[in-house]
Each structure stands twice: as C-alpha cells, then as structure tokens.
Subunit: 387 residues, 2 copies
C-alpha cells in the first residue's frame, strides 16, 4: 500500500491524497460505505461501483466470522470473491461489535445473558445470533482478517464505552496497546501466508481524556504501521469532544500516512474532521437513516414521511448525482416509505451514499483548488438544516 | 388498443401475438410482474425495463385507492408518472383483494372484525390498513381506474372463493355479469374524460363448474370488449380443474382478442395454459417466492436456504439471463438469505422475474418456429423438479 498527499490546504489541515492498494486506488478524503455482513444494505454491488462510485467498502470481522463463517469465505477465495467486489476493502476487527452487541442484545432480549469477559489474553463472548461462545484474541483476529483478505485490516482493540471513568479508560488503553504489539507480531508472522497484500491499521483509544489520547497517539505512531485509525469516538460523547480528541491526535500522527476516523459521522462532522486532517471515514448513518426515511442533501436533511411531501412531485434531491434523484419523486418515495415497501430503503440508501461520496469528491476538489475552508463552512451550515 | 396474432401453433392452441397500447407494444404470450402498491417489490423500475425486460406491469386499484390515495395519483398525472414507468400498465379492479384481504386480516389479527358486505349495488368493506370503511361499486371502480390511467383496466367482479357451492357460484356469477354491464356503461360514458387511452377487460367467473364457465364465457364474449380475462382460478382448486376451466373458456372466447388468465401460476402452468390459448398472465409467485428464498430455473426450483448451497460458488442460474445470474453465487445468496439481508430478496426477485419473462420470450419463439409443443412438454417437466 502506498499513500501520497497531492495537496495540503493552507487554511486548514485538510489533505487531498491517494492510497494505492492491490485492488486499486482510493482518492482521499474518502467515505467508506459499511457492508457489515458482506452487503451494503439494500444496495447492489454494481450500484456501489457505477452509480455511488464507492472506491472502498467495509466488512466486519465479528459478523462475518459468525455468519457465514470463515471457512466459507476461505473456500470462496476471500471476501472480495465471495461478494463479487473487486475494488479495495477494509475489515473492522470486531472489537467494537463484541462490546456494543452484547449491550444491544440485553436491550432487545431482556432474558438473554450475553457474555463478554475481557482478560489480558483476549475476549470470551457469546454470539448475538445463537448465544454460542467464542474467544477472540489479537492473534486469531489477525488470522481471521488474513483469511477474509481485505486490503486494510484493523488491530484488535477494546472500544471503551461512553461515559468511561478515567482509570478504566487508561487501563483499557494500555491493554489495547499491548494487544496492538501482539497484532503486529502476528501480522508480520503471517505475511504472504494467505496470498493477499494487506495493511494493518492500529487504533488509538483513550476516551475523551486528552492526555490519554496523546499517549495513545504517540504509542500508535511509534508502531510505524502503514496507516492509523482513531477509535472510540462517536459513541455518545458531545461532538465538540469528538472534534477536540481528533485534533489532538491528528497533531501527533505522522503526516505522510492515512488517518482513519472510525464511525463518524454527519456530513457536517465529516467536513470538520477533514479540516482537522482526517482522510478516511466510515459510518452506518447514510444507510441506517435511509431505512428510517431520512435523506441527506446539500440543502439539509429530509424526513420523507413528513406529510408535506405527499404531493411534492419534485426530484428527491435536485442536486443529487444518483439515478434515483432523477428517476423518483419525493411523493413517490414518501408513498413507498409509508407503505413499508423495500424500494423505499433501496432508493434512500443509494441516494444517501451517493450524497456522502459526492461530498467527499467535492471536498477533495476544494482542497486542491484552495477554496476548501469557505466552502466547508457553508456546507456544514447547509447540511445541518432540517428541510 | 390493437391486437394482432402473428402465429398460431398447429399442434396446440398457442398463439404468438402483439398488443399495441398508447404506451407501446406487448409481445404475447406475456407475463406481467405485479406491482401492487406502485412498486414491483424489491426491484427498481429501470431493472424491470433493462434487465428483466418487462413489457407491462400491474398495479392494484384496491391498494392504490387506500394508499397513497387517488387524489395523489391524479395530482401526479396518473400512475405512470407517479411511479416513473413509461411502458404499458394494467390495473386489477380490486375485487379479488376486497375478498381475500378480509380473510387475511382475520387470520393475522384475531381481534379484528373486517367487514365486507356485498349487495347488488356494490361492496362495503373495511380497509386492511386502518379498518376505515369504504364502498366500491362498478361505477366508482371504473372512475378510480380512469384516474389511475393504466392502459388496460379490469371490470369489477366478485372473485368467488374455493371451495364454493354451485348455487353461490351461480348467483355470484350472475351478479358479476350485471356489474359488468354497469362497468361497461360507465367506461363508455367516461371515454376521454381523463385523457388516457384505456381498454376495459371483463372477467369470467363460475368457479370450477363447467356449465357456469360456459355461460360466463358466452356472456363476456358477447360484450365485445377489447380483451377478455379469466378470474377466480388459482384460488385453491386442483391444477387439473384450473386447466379444464381454462380450456372450456378458451374454446368460447373470440380468437382475435387477447386472453388474460389472472393470478396463474408456476412456470409449468403458464406453459400449459399458453398451449390452451392464453396470451397474458400475472402472478405474485416469482416475487413472493423470491422473498422466501425460492428460485425458479430452467432446470427446476432451488430452495436457497438449503445447506448444500453453503459452499456452492457457481452462478445462481448458469442459464439465467439477468445480471444477478452472472454477478452473484448461490453461496453468497444463501448467506444473504440466512442473514435476512434485503439484498437476498432483491437478487432473487430480479432472477425470478427475469426467468418468467425469458420463459415467455422462448415460448413465443417456439410458437413462431413451430416447435412449441415438444419444447413445452420438456420444460414443464424440467421446471417442476426440485433441485
């Protein structure tokens, strides 16, 4: 993997760059659609490529390990071949899911006793599907991601919840650092073993504590990996805390490597974080909100179920770049949403992803032509409006 | 609307023809995908056109009247414009839904008291959505279909259930005939009033009683409409009864007008009914079964959830004509189905519809080149196998 910065903004810390992987180029800043179980929900692969113009998508180790299981993906010749996607891919390590889904299951299945035991060795956890028990360690999470075969794989970390006591955050961060060393060793030992060219990104933790974030960023930077990620944000803290932690970390991370802010965020948050020096994002927001009838546009957000759209026959988004913006009206999409038709989720998911990707392409253009800051300030305001 | 028979098979009563409507041509025999609420479930309009190559799709008066409501469709300038579909369209009258959905609701909502009171004047019924009460008459069902604006609209009938006593079937049929006269009068009175070119198809009833079917076919044929439909079949009777009734009716209906068999059926049943002289079909089977993981192929049916497909990385259907057949494997589709991902329904719906449409195109070709019967017998056997 190589990373080259093409342009750095003069007024902010925004960068326009290019990552080259075995599966092709990624022009940054980039938003990566989330394909948790090997599918970006409600979207065909060719739509991601040709209409949304996604350059890289995400898979999730935790989910894919449980279903369909690593054996199937190995037999298929890796995740790319299994799902029919020939562009770059990234897999999350599953750390976040082990921690979030146990809580999720407790909420929706009050009788369930989801298990999650953290030790220095790793995490014993129960499946959110059938309650069966499993054990993830830094080593086997590397092995699993080696056989899934994504271009970029993530270190196994503990994603601390929010709020989180300082002492817990520190202990957890220290363990995540020790796990990172183990991930790195295993990653190096297994180089070439599975036949894929892969890069490992470590994850910075430290909750909302500035000194911990500094420690973690310094530790992570010293590992000298090919790219670096910031985890444990967008988990419930105030956006200002998220920005503050991102800024602190970006000031420490090496400039010449891509920076990936995990799980963020709204269109406005993406733009603010680009200004802080972030190159890569992922988030379920565009697809999850789409399924709830929320559309992101350059003028603000639309709740399509609102009665005022019932006879609004104008395009979903006049500025939209996707075919759905030309082909369907707001009134039709509202009807589909109210009738609980699958096509509603399909249209809204494509629209939202196309909007996020187009926003990144525009940001890149503005960085290159030197007008990023002014445009960013305008777009943050506009996209935060409710239409 | 014009209908021209291009070729009649020598060994069977199959015909290859062409219907010309204000929205374009329909080559028969044809299968019409069902778009009950203004959407063929899980399929984009452009996929119906370019990939599945549907020539005509269905809408449903009952469902569209309740949601989004006729006012919205009128404001949009008709159903074609509302949903973004510029090829021919047909709307069912809602007779079948009023009768079937009341029972449906009783099954799923034991406390519900769905209402359906039939009188000479029309049918009082309660909405399956909110229980609100409505009144459909032959006259207002014509008016509603006039404002929806489909190229072919259906007479308002009572779809008799199965099994059905002879006396009830006869009384019901007689009333359906009187309603047909009222439909026809209203249809003629409203000619040109809504600005759409439309044709009215009457519906033959008579349950599984040969003498009633003969009476009904003779009555309907005498109305001299532009096409004729056979209703009240595929509602639970044995396939042989369905074939027998279809044969009796086809022998009476004028040859020079299109014949539409409503709600039928499996690929094998379609081919047998083409051999009896049917030109048009509709059925929810390809899309409904798709959502349950059942795929129709030229070699037989596939239940994709079957464990034997878990590592079968061959194409969904090697003979399939759709992009999904090339792009996705059985193992991937099985994974999506087991993970309850929307993409599973999206892929299977497109595949099944593409298969049904391709089967009709092949039947047409075989009728024209004089090899229909032999091919039909082989395909009926093949498609009935379970893989």
């Amino acid at each position: 993997m190589t990373f080259r910065i093409e342009h750095t903004d003069k007024e902010t810390k925004a960068r326009a760059g290019e990552i080259i992987t075995a599966h092709g180029k990624i022009q940054t800043p980039i938003f990566m659609p989330v394909g948790t179980r090997g599918t970006v929900k409600a979207v065909h692969q060719h739509e991601l490529k040709d209409d949304i113009r996604a350059q890289i998508i995400l898979g999730n180790t935790y989910h894919l390990y449980l279903k369909p299981g690593i054996e199937i993906i190995e037999k298929a010749g890796g995740l790319h071949k299994f799902i029919g996607w020939d562009r770059p891919m990234l897999t999350d390590s599953g750390g976040f899911q082990i921690f979030s889904l146990a809580d999720e299951r407790r909420k929706t299945q009050p009788g369930a006793k989801p298990m999650r035991k953290i030790s220095e060795e790793g995490v014993h956890f129960s499946s959110d599907i059938d309650g069966s028990t499993h054990f993830f360690t830094p080593e086997n999470v590397m092995d699993i991601q080696r056989s899934i075969g994504a271009d970029i794989i993530m270190a196994f970390d503990e994603c601390t919840p929010y709020p989180c006591e300082y002492d817990y955050a520190k202990k957890s961060m220290d363990m995540t650092h020790r796990w990172l060393k183990r991930c790195n060793s295993r990653f190096k030992e297994t180089e070439g073993k599975y036949g894929y060219e892969q890069s490992l990104f470590p994850i910075i933790q430290g909750s909302v504590y500035k000194d911990l974030r500094i420690q973690s960023a310094e530790f992570v930077a010293a590992q000298n990996c090919e790219g670096n990620a910031i985890g444990g944000l967008s988990v419930g803290e105030a956006p200002d805390d998220m920005f503050a932690m991102t800024e602190v970390v970006c000031n420490i991370l090496p400039k010449e490597k891509p920076r990936y802010l995990m799980g963020v965020g709204t269109p406005g948050q993406l733009l603010e974080c680009i200004a802080l020096g972030i190159d890569m994002f992922d988030c379920v927001m565009p697809t999850r909100n789409a399924r709830n009838g929320m559309l992101f546009t350059s003028q603000g957000t639309i709740a399509i179920s609102n009665a005022k759209y019932k006879d609004d026959f104008s395009p979903i988004d006049p500025d939209g770049t996707s075919f759905v913006d030309k082909q369907y009206s707001k009134a039709y999409l509202r009807h589909l949403n109210k009738a609980d038709e699958m096509l509603a989720s399909m249209i809204a998911s494509i629209h939202n992803l196309a909007f996020f990707l187009e926003l990144m392409r525009q940001a890149r253009e503005k960085i290159i032509d030197g007008t990023f800051r002014e445009w960013k300030d305008k777009m943050v305001k506009q996209t935060e409006q409710r239409l």
